[in-house]
């Protein structure tokens, strides 16, 4: 037994020590949710990745591209297992994707250990932005706090004096509230953290909001996915939408708008990207996306598209020598690609420094729901963790 173990260990050591061969293609593992409840998001990301490949002619630099999709089944353990499979079995050069913070946090270790770059295209947990920042991680989305920070700034600028805050009682939810408070200068007249994820009925909370004196001028919420659908519908049904304006982050997006219907009309949220953002890359992305798939892309899709484009820029910059990890890192950090989010740089923790916009839910002429950018809240806004807690340069 012992001897065999040693032999095995030797075999592993040997394979690890072999000189890296020049790559003949770029292999990217893409982890997202393709089955179970939130599969709608995963599908958008997958569609966007395919569109990016079309735009790249299925080539990065001089190398052909292969994408291996992995389904995390909305379960951190599966997400971790699949990531492990990507780096150990499929031996991918990059891993990208990840909708959920908890899946990303559980899945990152094997990816980093395998010295593989991880391009997060949605989840932006503060851990990876601060003390646990990693040279192997880059993000084409945002750090969680940035969005509520923008909303806090917007509402302060709009002269809103009293706000009631609602959020799920889990770390991302508390981060959102913390981020909001960082930039909101008015008075927070009430704050409720609701249980997560099983909470589905806000009637009790609405009654409390209504009973608050003096009356709040606005309500700020963070309810992603299905919870957002429930919340927005119930807020309108309770008659609150017309009396106390609702401001949100991550609660109204194109994956939820269809189910929210008129209840979401006119609601304001902040985002680092919008389908109507005016730059060439985005115009092409949105137009081709609509043409190919027949629906309007959401920010999930935009960020997924960007993640592929970022990798492509790096591969090109190192002249296909993707085995030179340091060079690749430098190239990624340069962020030298036409992002659909416009001008984007990386912070020292590899989270983006980008613009944040306020956007409104509107109904298009053909009856579909969509968001429109109303204005810019932040120009080149960096997250608050990088400078403070992350030791990377």
């Amino acid at each position: 037994m012992k001897a065999r173990t040693i032999a095995l260990a030797a075999a592993f050591a040997l394979s690890a020590a072999l000189p890296a061969l020049a790559a003949d293609k770029v292999k990217i593992g893409y982890v997202t949710t393709l089955s179970k409840g939130p599969a709608a998001i995963g599908k958008q990301m997958q569609d966007a990745v395919e569109l990016a490949l079309d735009h790249l002619g299925k080539k990065m630099g001089g190398l052909p591209v292969e994408i291996v999709y992995a389904d995390d089944e909305f379960d951190p353990e599966i997400g971790k297992l699949r990531s492990e499979e990507l780096v150990k079995k499929d031996k991918v050069d990059f891993v990208s994707g990840f909708i959920w913070s908890n899946v990303l946090l559980q899945a990152r270790q094997p990816i980093f250990k395998a010295n593989t770059f991880l391009i997060g295209s949605n989840a932006g947990p503060h851990e990876l932005a601060g003390k646990e920042c990693s040279p192997w991680f880059f993000s084409t989305s945002w750090q969680n706090d940035q969005m509520p920070e923008a909303m806090g700034k917007y509402m302060t600028d709009a002269g809103i004096k009293r706000v009631y805050v609602l959020s799920p009682n889990y770390p991302a939810g508390r981060d959102m509230v913390a981020g909001f408070k960082r930039y909101y200068k008015g008075e927070i007249v009430g704050e409720i953290l609701t249980p997560w994820p099983q909470h589905a009925d806000w009637s009790a909370e609405f009654a409390k909001i209504r009973a608050t004196e003096p009356k709040p001028e606005a309500v700020f919420v963070f309810y992603p996915g299905g919870a957002g659908i429930n919340f927005v519908k119930q807020y309108a049904q309770a008659g609150l939408k017309d009396t106390i304006p609702l401001y949100n982050v991550f609660t109204t997006d194109s994956t939820t708008l269809k189910a929210q219907g008129d209840a979401a009309l006119g609601l304001l949220s902040t985002m680092s990207w919008g389908a109507d953002l005016q730059n060439d890359a985005n115009k092409r992305f949105v137009a081709d996306f609509k043409k190919k798939y027949g629906y309007i892309p959401s920010f999930y899709a935009a960020q997924a598209y960007d993640s592929i484009m970022l990798i492509a820029s790096a591969v090109k910059a190192v002249n296909d020598k993707i085995e030179d990890k340091d060079a690749v890192r430098k190239a990624l950090k340069a962020s030298d690609f036409a992002s659909v989010r416009g001008q984007v740089k990386f912070n020292n923790n590899h989270y983006p420094i980008e613009n944040f916009y306020i956007q409104e839910v509107v109904k298009d002429a053909d009856g579909t729901y969509d968001t429109r950018i109303k204005g810019t809240v932040f120009l080149a806004h960096a997250d608050s963790y990088g400078a403070k807690e992350c030791k990377m340069k």
């Binding site: 599908k43 409720i192 953290l193 909470h199 009925d201 009637s203 009790a204 049904q237 269809k258």
Partner: protein, 307 residues
């Protein structure tokens, strides 16, 4: 002011309670009479909501969609009873758990395929959208009052069915002593199918009524299912009366916990600690209640006699 808030929260609790009752009524009957643990009961809730959403897209009328969704759920219920569950009545509970969790997997994915990956749209017609000022100063959503009314009406109907009709007598007899049924010369198979169909339709009704409030998507039945099991266990398995009282109890306690727990705890600890601990305790509350009830009454509050 606080009194008004209390009244409003009581209404909210009542509304959650009657929804839970619709789910639990069928579950407790099927469990009590057929001795079947049906984990797929939540799937029927989901089927009801999906049918309503799909029929709404098709007909454009919420009322019509709701009316069509009920027989559709009934039909689905009857099909799974005849194809799968019928052979499971005499089997071990664990076989039932395995088979019906297979049904959950199947239904979640099947509806995913039918309805698409995104959550479906199920909105109220204009005449149900308004608010009513039953409490001075705080308008209450009309639809929630309708939910309470429908729920109470169904409860009353079930009460009459169970206490005043021959079928009801058989149902009661079956819940307290199963072997007696066949001795009475009843067509047991038919009765079982009928009871299961009734339960399926009630779960479907729950789904239809929840549809406009929550998001209609694959997997929506599971959390409701767990709550429904909590209800029937607290109420005593097989007891409609127990399910009704336990459902209202859970609805009220859960709502009140969410509404007041953080503030209550704020009295004895710091504000921030209370804001974090409050919701945690609030979400544990119903499980604490269940553990407490079962500790003192291991058969629930109203165990049907003779078991």
């Amino acid at each position: 002011m606080t009194a008004l808030l209390l009244i409003e929260q009581t209404l909210n609790g009542l509304q959650l309670g009657v929804m839970l009752f619709l789910m639990s009524a069928g579950l407790t009957l099927v469990f009590g009479i057929m001795n079947l643990i049906n984990l797929a009961h939540g799937s029927l809730f989901m089927v009801g909501a999906y049918c309503a959403a799909l029929f709404l897209e098709w007909t454009g009328s919420f009322v019509l969609a709701a009316l069509l969704a009920l027989p559709a759920t009934l039909l689905v219920g009857l099909i799974i009873e005849i194809v799968v569950l019928r052979t499971l009545y005499e089997r071990d509970h664990l076989d039932q758990v395995l088979a019906t969790s297979g049904l959950i997997l199947f239904f979640n994915e099947a509806l995913h395929l039918v309805g698409g990956a995104e959550a479906l749209y199920l909105d109220l017609p204009p005449f149900l959208k308004g608010q009513v000022k039953i409490i001075p100063g705080s308008p209450y959503p009309l639809y929630r009052l309708v939910v309470i009314a429908v729920g109470l009406a169904v409860a009353l109907g079930l009460y009459l069915l169970v206490t005043r009709t021959r079928t009801g007598m058989l149902i009661r007899a079956g819940a307290s002593n199963r072997t007696m049924l066949s001795a009475l010369g009843v067509n047991v198979r038919l009765l079982f199918t009928a009871v299961f169909g009734l339960g399926a339709m009630l779960a479907g009704l729950g789904g239809v009524m929840a549809g406009p409030i929550v998001s209609v998507q694959s997997g929506m039945g599971e959390n409701v299912l767990i709550l429904a099991f909590v209800v029937i266990v607290i109420g005593g398995i097989g007891s409609i009366r127990g399910a009704f009282i336990a459902a209202l109890l859970i609805g009220l306690i859960d709502t009140m916990g969410r509404a007041f727990m953080a503030d209550l705890m704020g009295l004895v600890m710091s504000h921030t600690a209370a804001q974090t601990a409050g919701p945690t305790i609030a979400s544990m509350l119903i499980y604490l209640l269940m553990a407490g009830v079962l500790f003192f009454r291991p058969q629930g509050l109203f165990p049907p006699r003779g078991r």
